[in-house]
């Protein structure tokens, strides 16, 4: 690892600091909590700072978000392993997190949406957050998550479908059409 000189500092401020909000946003959605997200995002940015002299080109936002994402998963593995280990299981998530009934009584649409997003497994949640809230392209999401573009496409489609499932109005049997 090379030394962080004045030139690196200027480049860091120009290339990385504009993405601090996006870094925190991704962390808070992946970890589902502000306090944990602040700690992990800070740790990720320190890591970015440490390794920045080795960053020579490419998309700085994707680079930063990749570090944040990896730091979040490391944190989840250490602190909430079961959350990571559970692949999406309709029955499990319906029973334990966001049943249509719970969503219906929660009232506020944003609250319902938040709960529905939180009910998604982290792998689905991250592609949705990166796409819908950060406006990342499929190529950027693939770079950040280190998964093939085809998997990004299928994950996004499945994530949206599950989100609709969670948001479905329980009083209507025919429910929303899948997306």
């Amino acid at each position: 690892m090379s030394e962080f000189d004045l030139e690196d500092r200027v480049r860091f401020e120009q290339l990385v600091l504009p993405h601090v909000d996006a870094a925190f946003n991704l962390a808070r959605w992946l970890l589902r909590g502000r306090a944990d997200a602040e700690d992990v995002a800070q740790e990720a940015l320190l890591r970015a700072c440490r390794y920045f002299p080795g960053f020579h080109g490419g998309d700085p936002r994707a680079w930063v978000l990749q570090i944040v994402r990896n730091t979040c998963y490391t944190w989840l593995e250490k602190n909430r392993l079961t959350e990571l280990a559970v692949e999406f299981n309709e029955k499990f998530h319906q029973q334990n997190h966001a049943t249509p009934e719970r969503l219906a009584i929660s009232g506020d649409d944003r609250e319902r949406l938040t709960r529905a997003l939180e009910a998604l497994p982290p792998r689905f949640r991250e592609v949705l957050i990166l796409r819908e809230l950060e406006g990342c392209s499929y190529k950027e999401i693939a770079a950040i998550t280190s998964i093939p573009i085809g998997t990004v496409m299928s994950s996004l489609a499945r994530a949206r479908r599950q989100l609709c499932f969670f948001l479905r109005d329980p009083s209507r049997k025919e429910a929303n059409r899948e997306v």
């Binding site: 649409d109 499929y138 496409m153 489609a157 989100l163 899948e178």
Partner: protein, 63 residues
């Protein structure tokens, strides 16, 4: 009945990730396919709802 294109192309079309040629072709299909047309509308509604979360932090995690 679900259209075969729904999963394979619809999301990429919606996200403007198809090539120009593929987008034109799928657009023509969507104009004729009630299934894809409806799904595109629902997808648009869903994404609009998601955009309302841009300034909103998630709830605190409860262990």
């Amino acid at each position: 009945m679900k259209c075969d294109f729904t999963d394979s192309l619809l999301h990429s079309y919606f996200d403007d990730e198809l090539s120009t040629l593929d987008a034109l072709e799928f657009g023509r299909h969507a104009e004729q396919c009630a299934d894809c047309g409806t799904t595109l509308v629902n997808l648009d509604l869903l994404v609009a709802r998601c955009s309302s979360l841009n300034s909103m932090p998630p709830r605190q995690h409860r262990c």
